[in-house]
Symmetry: C2
Subunit: 294 residues, 2 copies
């Protein structure tokens, strides 16, 4: 059966009500479209978690701090629909900006403690926009499960915090980062890279791996592990580093490493911003499934 | 059948799931307890709107700007339960503060444009706390309908804005202010008034009525209608005025009156704060049902 394309909130609610009537469970995969294998992994997780899978495709204006980034963001609904068809997605919810924001929005969901540093420091209002639109999508679709990628680790931590704090009846399921053969994390933004930038981009994972190795080798000072990452990145003069940090499960930067941490980084290649991260497990530390996934 | 008393979120979700299984609709009446006839009117509205009525009783710490006010707030669960029993309320949801906030909350729902003036200017963070706890209650109970009193006009406007902006599938139903025979709006805080303060308190409605009369008589300058209110209040030297304003449906103060407006006021009698408001209809103006109720 072809993936149903739903573009209005009223239609989406009706469609979901019919699914619920039949006693079926719903998993949703919130995306901004331009779907790639990373989204494919999320769809697989969603499929395993529920009877019915809804992919939302919405380039959310209120999470963009720069208008040009919003306008340049890749939009390929026809290709996205084929992508979903091929993966037996039951419905795509692809509302217009006017449908989601018929008037300027006055209500915001914010997780300030988790949202004002790392990516949040460089993209003011970004995570407030993300949390707000995810709350809207959860209220429209009322899914049992929602799947988010670990590439956007700060976003994942914020959504989990929001779900816990506001008692959304939604199970948040993460999916690991999907990478190109050369290690570059999949992202809709990768298609903006010029060929020589694309050749350079895998240095980000290489650098993070160096930091991970130093921690695995016993390094417990965050600054030293970060320095190991930076040394690799500095070898590539066209890379501009936005941040490299080591954070705890609540995405707070740590000075000394005593439990599982995540090495997170954002860099620029020309006008394209890339993010990536690696989980660094400390032998003997409690796995923190609540935040970091299995 | 006796009103069911539910104190945990998990039990509440189970109870609601059973109701839903039976195909019954749910109306909820969020309160902080110390129930009075004003709440009784809300319960009646709820009963008319849905098959099952849930009254929530929760003195929400994050909406109090002053710790002493939180601690002094009246708590009478046994009496509240009898009140609900007598009105055939199906369930009371009365969680502890620890149940609602097992860890310090990090996520907030805010409607800054509607929340930073009037009561919000004098009670910083108050409406953020209200919107956040109402979002939590909506997510726990998932009601079809929720009833709020018009006495808290700013709160009602904020909840409506939040529901619209975040797409909560909840119909917000207002109920008019219920008054004592002498005109004092019912409030759980009235019981704190000393006898001589209680005798003085009806001057608030008397003053607002004077403003309403001046508008009905053709006054279109907000400042002059407000002055009419203040003249009456100034006749009572023990009353301290916090604010008197004339606001539009979005609770924004207006200078000149061209459509339906609300006269809103907050005053202090000793250490007790009283609020009240009156709708002022302008003949020929469109009734604004979305904000102001029928």
């Amino acid at each position: 059966m072809r993936t149903e394309l739903v573009t209005t909130i009223a239609q989406m609610r009706e469609w979901i009500a019919a699914v619920r009537q039949g006693g079926r469970s719903v998993a949703c995969v919130p995306t901004m479209g331009a779907l790639h294998a990373g989204h494919g992994a999320l769809i697989e997780r969603a499929r395993a978690a529920a009877d019915v899978v809804v992919v939302t495709i919405f380039v959310n204006p209120i999470q963009f701090d720069r208008k040009d980034d919003y306008e340049r963001y890749a939009r390929h609904l026809a290709a996205d629909r084929e992508f979903c068809d091929a993966r037996n997605v039951d419905a795509i919810f692809a509302p217009s900006a006017e449908e989601m924001y018929p008037e300027p929005i006055a209500t915001f969901v914010d997780v300030p403690d988790l949202a004002t540093h790392l990516c949040g420091a460089f993209r003011p209002g970004h995570f407030r926009g993300v949390a707000t639109v995810v709350a809207k999508l959860f209220n429209i679709i009322q899914p049992d499960t929602a799947c988010f990628g670990e590439k956007d680790a700060q976003q994942l931590a914020i959504i989990r915090q929001m779900v816990r704090d506001l008692n959304f009846a939604v199970d948040i399921v993460p999916a690991p980062i999907v990478r190109e053969p050369d290690g570059l994390a999949l992202s809709s933004r990768n298609q903006r890279l010029a060929p020589e930038q694309r050749r350079m981009a895998p240095v980000l994972l290489k650098a993070l791996t160096e930091g991970q190795r130093s921690i695995a080798g016993g390094e417990r000072q965050a600054a030293k592990a970060i320095a190991a990452v930076l040394r690799v990145l500095e070898g590539e003069p066209d890379i501009r580093v936005e941040y490299v940090e080591i954070v705890d499960p609540r995405m707070q930067p740590v000075d000394s490493i005593s439990g599982d941490v995540r090495l997170v980084a954002a860099v620029w290649l020309g006008s394209t911003r890339l993010i990536d991260n690696l989980l660094c497990r400390i032998a003997g530390s409690e796995p923190n499934a609540t935040y970091f996934g299995a």
